[in-house]
């Protein structure tokens, strides 16, 4: 317990202490400065877009992994975890190699919001897949077959039986992916290039503040990011739990 407090809790308490230690006024000034607001806007917009992409393709990928069968599926399954295993700075270089100035496919996304989005989509790709996959695997297919036998069409079965059952895991995967996206640094640092108001995400702004020795400002922005992440995770968990309960009651 002591170890846990020393390693995890104390540093976080210290951030909060540093952020409010300079008074409410200083905290408010730091988080409402033009650069801070711009960085929040960029971070949140791109993260929301990336999370939506992840939900769509994550669901599709999980579906294919569980319900489909084809040669090389095991390899396909293993490759999904690559973004978890790859160091973020390597991801950054991988992204640059593909979309940077020497792009072999002629896509030049360096220093554009789209480039940042590509990097974030890469690092957060596994979350939704890995959250949905086990639930889909455990799902009883008899209900679907019964519904189909009673004349429900494919899409109808999917939206009224499969999707509600997957909703809690889908939301938890989306939450993790969003929370990772708003805090990401390593993979966006070179492809983004920190263009203020376009590609400078909040984590890069925090680093800039620390390099200018503005620890209170950096701590304040950190607190805002942490709060956003926790609130989003909490809301999605509550919605997910409700959906799970409703699903249970319907059985």
């Amino acid at each position: 317990m002591l170890w846990l407090s020393l390693i995890v809790l104390l540093p976080l308490v210290a951030i909060a202490w540093q952020a409010i230690g300079g008074g409410w006024q200083a905290f408010w000034l730091a988080v409402t400065s033009h650069a801070a607001l711009e960085s929040f806007r960029v971070t949140l917009t791109i993260s929301v877009v990336v999370t939506i992409i992840n939900v769509g393709f994550g669901l599709l990928t999980a579906w294919v992994l569980v319900r489909d069968d084809f040669f090389g599926k095991g390899l396909f399954d293993a490759v999904i975890d690559l973004p978890f295993a790859l160091p973020t700075i390597v991801t950054s270089l991988v992204m640059l190699a593909l979309y940077g100035k020497s792009s072999p496919i002629g896509l030049h996304l360096q220093h554009t919001p789209a480039g940042v989005a590509m990097a974030l989509a890469f690092v957060t790709l596994p979350y939704v897949v890995r959250a949905v996959q086990p639930v889909l695997l455990a799902l009883d297919q008899e209900v679907e077959e019964a519904a189909a036998a009673l004349g429900a069409s494919g899409p109808k079965v999917f939206t009224s039986i499969v999707l509600p059952a997957l909703l809690p895991s889908l939301l938890s995967g989306a939450g993790m992916s969003f929370s990772r996206a708003i805090g990401e640094f390593g993979s966006v640092v070179t492809i983004g290039g920190a263009v203020p108001g376009r590609t400078e995400v909040s984590s890069q702004w925090i680093r800039a503040l620390i390099e200018n020795d503005d620890r209170t400002g950096a701590a304040a922005i950190s607190i805002v990011l942490l709060s956003i992440s926790f609130i989003v995770l909490l809301i999605l968990r509550i919605v997910g739990a409700r959906a799970a309960k409703r699903e249970e009651a319907a059985r």
Binding site: L12, L65, D68, L98, M176, F185
Partner: protein, 275 residues
């Protein structure tokens, strides 16, 4: 696995869309780096990963792993035992705290360590009065790495322990074996796969950590640069090939990780089929 009655058109559409997405997002970029690294030949790759700066970065990264890993294993197994075997107030809170590092950005970890241990921080006296440099030194890198890897061993070992139950351990205790003997002979062998995976995750993450480390390291080539910092440094200085070469080295670690993971999954499935 039974197949649901999907029309072939839908099935192929979903299959190839998913495959195309994964190929475009993951496989093409990774292959490209490999190709760029080895196009000029293996000799040049070796030259770039064996420069003095690269060697020193490799040593530093391995040193950090050597410090972080035992600490995390001891803490992780101990905590997993408590969480899986004991009932107490605040258990849910404890589990939430253990998971906390997953949702904290590495950059924020860096800021937290700076405001806590930095010379002007809350515990600044350690550096000012005792002359023990934490931020911009090895201890800072180690602290950041421990923070981000803390949940791995606990999260992998705990479910195995819960599933295992206590019957065998109780039997051993009744037959007169001490707690250490019980742990060594019964508990440890049962959790070995979970523990191995936890160790692999911790190692891979420690070697690959960048955001947290760049905040607390003085980032001097040949002294306080880990492998990931050197990759960034080389890229910033325009030595793109050098950065690619090191990336390939780190990617080797990542691929090893995936292989170990796949092997462990197969093992686990095999073991549960035996049971």
């Amino acid at each position: 696995m039974t197949q649901t009655k999907q029309t072939p058109v839908v099935r192929h559409l979903t299959r190839y869309t998913a495959l195309a997405y994964i190929a475009a997002m993951l496989i093409v970029p990774a292959t490209l780096i490999l190709w760029r690294t080895f196009k000029p030949g293996f000799g040049q790759f070796y030259d770039w990963v064996s420069t003095p700066a690269a060697k020193s970065a490799l040593n530093l990264s391995l040193l950090v792993v050597a410090i972080v890993l035992p600490l995390n294993v001891i803490f992780g197994v101990f905590t997993a035992l408590i969480v899986a075997r004991r009932r107490f107030r605040g258990k849910a809170t404890l589990q939430a705290i253990i998971d906390l590092p997953f949702s904290v950005s590495p950059i924020i970890v860096g800021v937290a360590l700076i405001v806590l241990w930095g010379s002007a921080g809350v515990f600044g006296f350690v550096e000012r009065d005792l002359g023990f440099k934490i931020i911009f030194g090895l201890p800072g890198i180690v602290l950041a790495s421990i923070f981000v890897t803390l949940p791995f061993v606990v999260r992998e070992v705990q479910p195995v322990l819960t599933e295992l139950g206590t019957e065998q351990e109780e039997a051993a205790a009744i037959l007169g074996s001490g707690w250490w003997q019980t742990f060594w002979r019964i508990t440890l062998p049962s959790i070995r796969w979970g523990l191995t995976y936890g160790i692999v995750l911790t190692t891979a993450r420690t070697l690959g950590e960048f955001g947290g480390v760049i905040m607390v390291s003085s980032n001097l080539a040949g002294k306080s640069q880990t492998l990931t910092l050197l990759v960034n440094d080389r890229y910033q200085r325009g030595a793109e090939y050098g950065a690619y070469a090191l990336s390939t080295l780190l990617m080797g670690v990542a691929v090893t990780f995936l292989i170990v993971k796949t092997i462990l999954l197969v093992r686990r499935a095999w073991a549960s089929r035996q049971a």
